[in-house]
């Protein structure tokens, strides 16, 4: 057996006993250190005659590579086992709770306003606004409400002045007047907003939300009104078919006027919109009264159109199965957690309005 083979077999026997990095270092020193066995062999190279040297050097290098490789392998082995050993002790109970976080939610009214805006955006409506405090003129007179109309009474309307000139708007309709006075037709707006009436019981709150719609242009007929509302109701309730009926009614600011009912039924305690044997009133609408258009100086020979008003809170109640209107405004954390919406649920057309 040559010296090299001997070294090799000694190494092989030793490497198997290596367990730790220290052992590995020892064996490294023993063979590759300053006086290591392999190092020694390299030192002998100079004394050999050239003939032998070539072969010997070649063999020595082979063995050196082999041993280095083995050391490398062993190193990885030890490191792996050391890591595994370490990780064994690092185990945590992942079922433990995370850090407490506060969960924010969007109020159902806000969510529904976003849904509605998204729906009407598709058909070219833009959102308009107006102040909560209104003049008697914008809220009533300009909207063709007679001087003696009961809605003007103190038990229906909140007033800020004894002479009844300033009030909290009772509907979003005065924004029609503001919008039409501020600009020229055509108009295609929706107006979501806070509205106020002196009413407070289980089904009435002194403040509620209304959505006004107004479309004034050349040749806008009741057929357009019907199409617009049919589209809206289907989109909003996310159903393909909604049986809808227009029922003649009366509002001072529209003529003809109608209330719109949709079919519904109760199934397993939940309301199903669109079909069934019951009618549900959802909104009021009509063709804008010529007196209203005259009040905002619009040429009624050229322009006409429709308006509608919808209770936003009521829509939210219907769609999301909320029973009590008053709860909307009571800021109860439990209620808000239950009925509120995740901030990332932004209603969009491409992704759908609601989860």
């Amino acid at each position: 057996m040559s010296d090299l083979d001997k070294i090799s077999s000694v190494f092989n026997a030793k490497i198997d006993t290596v367990k730790t990095k220290d052992d590995l270092q020892n064996i490294k020193t023993e063979f590759f250190g300053k006086n290591g066995q392999i190092t020694q062999q390299f030192k002998t190279l100079g004394n050999l005659d050239p003939e032998k040297r070539k072969d010997f050097a070649s063999n020595l290098n082979k063995i050196k590579d082999d041993l280095t490789n083995q050391l490398e392998q062993k190193n990885i082995e030890i490191e792996t086992s050391e890591i595994n050993e370490k990780l064994k002790n690092e185990k945590v109970d992942v079922t433990l709770p995370t850090r407490p976080a506060r969960l924010g939610k969007i109020h159902p009214v806000s969510q529904v306003i976003d849904e509605i805006s998204s729906i009407f955006s598709e058909i070219g409506f833009s959102v308009a606004e107006g102040p909560d405090v209104e003049t008697e003129y914008n809220n009533f007179t300009a909207l063709n409400t007679p001087e003696e109309h009961p809605a003007r009474d103190m038990h229906d309307t909140f007033y800020l002045e004894e002479n009844k000139k300033l009030l909290l708007r009772t509907h979003t309709s005065p924004v029609q007047i503001r919008t039409m006075l501020a600009s020229k037709p055509p108009f295609k707006i929706i107006v979501p907003g806070r509205t106020y009436r002196c009413d407070s019981d289980q089904t009435h709150a002194p403040m509620f939300h209304q959505l006004e719609g107004l479309h004034i242009d050349k040749g806008i007929t009741m057929g357009h009104l019907k199409g617009c509302l049919d589209y809206f109701i289907k989109e909003f309730f996310e159903v393909k078919n909604v049986k809808m009926r227009f029922r003649p009614s009366h509002f001072p600011f529209t003529e003809p006027s109608a209330e719109v009912d949709i079919r519904y039924k109760i199934e397993k305690g939940k309301i199903v919109i669109g079909e069934g044997d019951k009618w549900l009133e959802v909104l009021g609408c009509g063709m804008v009264h010529p007196n209203v258009l005259k009040n905002v100086k619009i040429d009624t020979k050229k322009y006409q159109g429709f308006a509608f008003g919808i209770g936003i809170d009521r829509l939210a109640m219907l769609k999301y199965g909320i029973n009590d209107l008053r709860a909307f405004f009571e800021a109860d954390y439990r209620w808000l957690s239950h009925f509120g919406f995740d901030p990332l649920d932004v209603p969009t057309n491409y992704r759908g309005l609601s989860k």
Partner: protein, 800 residues
């Protein structure tokens, strides 16, 4: 307006079933609100007689009555009515009956120790009137004891909601006319018997010529020698079915005519009239005893019917006691008049009276119905009570002409979107009582006197489409094109701030725009209070001047509900004046409690001002403002803790005010008595966030990232205690903006080794160049520059 089908059919010849009629009513705009099934249930209420009424042994105000309903059994009933007395004929409800007013089912019950079998009813409990003082006193005779009181009411009563424009449908005939027009049968033309009118009219009547006279026409008939009595069954049953209480033949007939023809009438005992009837304006302070047993103090300009002695009635609203008819009344004056709706409405509102007559007059009665009303009522009185009638005397403006509308046929299609023929128009309008004449291109349409609501083309169009049916309108699909933005900049900010705050753990609340002045005062900056004249309650009496007024209240409510660690926000208007537009949208948030409450992971700590500052700043960044433009100062307002709050303005201290943040003032917290006092808040003023004139993609600098190594240097400055760290950081950043990438303070130390009025601030500065790796030399150079600049501008020294 309540109707019954049999009564309707007296005006309408139809084979339609009840349900078809009901559906059609709603279809033509006469919305059926409720159908009251009276059958069976109402039959349980029996006419009864009190045999004996004794004081309850255990209660002063109660009586124990022996009641008979005809059989041998004597029923013991406990009753609290002061008028329960021996011999009284009244209405008895047995156990099992459901009281209409309360929907409460009666049971045999012990009342203060005495068993009561059923109860004796008041008019109010039976929904006959608002009369709740005492039990009903019937004038029926003994033969009827034991019979059902509501015998005629096995029919269904249909409650129709009549819109304010349709005064004509407040009579059954008007409803029949609408139905006939819609194809449900044929309107029956009434056949009036010629009545004998031979007696002389004994009462002079006149309408005083006065400014704002509320009465236009006063018609009357004098009838003498009548025998007033209980109404016949058919009449009583009709009224009971509508929910009215029969009183006497004369009164019942006037009511009958009112509901039949929408023609209110009034009957006076003419023997009680002092000489003559004068319709005039009341004198200020004049006193009037009305039939509702109340005394009214009148104001001038209220229209009254008077005689030489005083006020007999409030025209069109309510009669008076002095001339009221009784069963003994022999001679009567029957009134049919026309009052102006606005006069009626004004008087009734000021005196707070609501009657069936007022309800009709204020909506507009047919001024031409006076004669027909008098005819029908006189005919019935003569038939039931006998007597002799005079000719009708009608004074006032009787010659009002009907309105004429020249209607262009094509206007219908222009507004509705479907066409109609002149023939169809003629058919519909004629059936509603309009008269149509064809002109060259238009129709000349005469509006009947009972339709004060129709005066424009659009009004006619509504009539036409109402009867033709809305179902006939073909819907036009909306076109999906958008020519203008859906939301403007401010609206986008509104929506974005909601999402932004909710994503930071804030719960959105929506509260009233009004609030409690006591709380509002705590948060206002001294702007004038904006009271509501007629608030819903005294603790919701002002418009809120601060977004905190309600937030603070509801935070407390939630704490009281047992919630800890709350974050709430609201976005909505606050008001700084009472005029329209004196309002702004504010985003307000409150955060209370602890961070990491009962966490096994981290140390629990109180929410602090830097939590609320962080939320505010992150929100502003999300609203589109670059962090470097957010200027933070300790300018604050009185509702915050003076030492732990501040302002954020745009770019500099003088820039637009974007937000306040900080701890809520301890005095306010104490005032509102919170369970957890650790409360922080912020207000963001959306109106002060400027709209960028370019889209972000256009205003962004081109992308440049350095591939060279970055270095960090730490500095410890000893600086005046009052010097703001924000300002110090800014000074350092500005030393060389191309090299200094980041400046952050990581420690502040005061105490040993540092002079009393100084603090030591440790700041880490990140340095990186775009074009090379900074050498040791470069770094020393910039470090020196930083130290020199800081020392020059602040007087700070480097800590050795």
């Amino acid at each position: 307006m309540i109707i019954t089908i049999p009564w309707l059919k007296e005006h309408l010849k139809t084979a339609a079933k009840e349900n078809e009629i009901i559906d059609q009513l709603t279809n033509i705009g006469l919305e059926v609100e409720a159908i009251k099934e009276n059958s069976g249930e109402m039959g349980k209420f029996k006419i009864a007689k009190v045999l004996k009424a004794e004081k309850h042994p255990n209660a002063d105000k109660l009586k124990v009555c022996d009641v008979t309903i005809g059989g041998k059994e004597i029923l013991k009933v406990v009753c609290g009515a002061p008028n329960a007395r021996e011999g009284l004929i009244t209405i008895y409800a047995p156990p099992g009956a459901v009281i209409p007013k309360t929907n409460f089912e009666l049971k045999v019950a012990k009342i203060r120790g005495v068993e009561s079998k059923g109860m004796l009813c008041s008019e109010s409990e039976l929904n006959l009137s608002n009369e709740s003082e005492g039990i009903i006193e019937l004038k029926n005779n003994e033969k009827e004891i034991g019979k059902s009181y509501f015998k005629g009411s096995s029919q269904r009563a249909i409650d129709i909601s009549i819109t304010p424009n349709r005064a004509d449908c407040l009579g059954i005939r008007g409803i029949a006319r609408d139905l006939s027009s819609a194809g449900v049968g044929k309107l029956i033309q009434p056949i009036r018997k010629k009545i004998k009118q031979n007696t002389k009219h004994q009462v002079k009547t006149s309408i005083a010529k006065e400014k704002s006279q509320g009465c236009y026409i006063f018609g009357s008939c004098y009838i003498k020698n009548i025998t007033n009595k209980e109404s016949p069954e058919w009449l009583k049953n009709k009224l009971i079915a509508l929910g009215l209480k029969p009183i006497s033949a004369v009164v019942d007939i006037t009511n009958y005519v009112m509901f039949d023809l929408n023609r209110p009438l009034h009957a006076y005992d003419s023997d009680k009239i002092n000489k003559e009837i004068i319709v005039r304006n009341a004198k200020e302070g004049e006193i009037f005893d009305a039939l509702d047993k109340k005394k009214y103090k009148l104001k001038k300009d209220m229209c009254v019917i008077s005689d030489k002695s005083g006020v007999l009635g409030l025209g069109g609203i309510i009669g008076g006691t002095t001339t009221s008819t009784e069963l003994e009344t022999k001679n009567i004056l029957l009134e049919a008049a026309y009052f102006s709706p606005s006069s009626i409405r004004k008087t009734a509102r000021e005196l707070n009276i609501n009657t069936d007559a007022k309800y009709r007059f204020e909506r507009g009665i047919d001024p031409n119905s006076i004669k027909e009303g008098l005819e029908l009522a006189t005919e019935l009185i003569l038939k039931i009570c006998g007597g002799e009638a005079s000719k009708f005397k009608i004074v006032g403006k009787t010659n009002k002409k009907n309105k004429i509308i020249n209607f262009q046929v094509e206007k219908f299609e222009k507004l509705i979107g479907v066409s109609i023929t002149a023939k169809e128009i003629d058919k519909i309008l004629s059936s509603l009582g309009f008269k149509c004449k064809k002109n060259q291109k238009s129709l000349k349409i005469e509006v009947p006197s009972w339709r004060p609501d129709v005066s424009l083309d659009e009004d006619l169009i509504e009539e036409l489409i109402r009867i033709k049916g809305f179902d006939n309108i073909k819907l036009i699909e909306p076109s999906k094109n958008r020519t203008q933005d859906t939301l403007n900049f401010k609206q986008k900010l509104f929506h974005l701030s909601q999402r932004s705050l909710a994503s930071k753990g804030y719960m959105e609340i929506v509260t009233w725009s009004f609030t409690d002045s006591k709380i509002d005062k705590l948060f206002s900056k001294g702007e004038k209070e904006i009271p509501i004249l007629n608030p819903i309650s005294s603790d919701l009496n002002v418009l809120r001047r601060s977004i905190f007024s309600n937030l603070a209240f509801y935070l407390k409510k939630n704490q009281d509900r047992g919630y800890e660690d709350l974050s709430l926000f609201e976005i909505g208007p606050t008001f700084f004046g009472k005029n329209p537009g004196e309002q702004q949208i504010v985003v307000g948030g409150l955060k209370s409690g602890k961070i990491n409450r009962k966490s096994w992971l981290d140390k629990e700590r109180d929410v602090d001002v830097f939590d609320i500052k962080s939320d505010t700043i992150k929100t502003l960044i999300e609203l589109g403002i670059e962090e470097k433009y957010l200027f933070v100062s300790d300018n604050t307002k009185h509702s915050y803790h003076p030492g732990r709050s501040g302002s954020i303005t745009l770019k500099s201290e003088k820039g637009p005010h974007l937000a306040y943040f900080g701890e809520i003032h301890p005095a306010i917290i104490k005032n509102l008595d919170y369970k957890d006092n650790n409360i922080f808040g912020f207000e963001i003023f959306l109106k002060n966030i400027p709209e960028p004139n370019k889209k972000l993609r256009l205003s962004k600098k081109s992308f440049q990232a350095s591939d060279y190594q970055k270095s960090e240097r730490d500095f410890a400055f000893v600086i005046d205690k009052i010097f703001k760290i924000g300002a110090l950081e800014k000074i350092i950043s500005e030393v060389d903006e191309s090299l200094i990438q980041k400046v952050s303070t990581f420690d502040i130390y005061e105490g040993e080794n540092i002079p009393k009025d100084k603090k030591s601030v440790a700041i880490n500065v990140t340095l990186q160049a775009v074009d090379k790796t900074l050498t040791e030399n470069d770094l020393d150079e910039i470090s020196k520059k930083i130290i020199d600049t800081v020392s020059k501008k602040t007087g700070a020294t480097i800590r050795s």
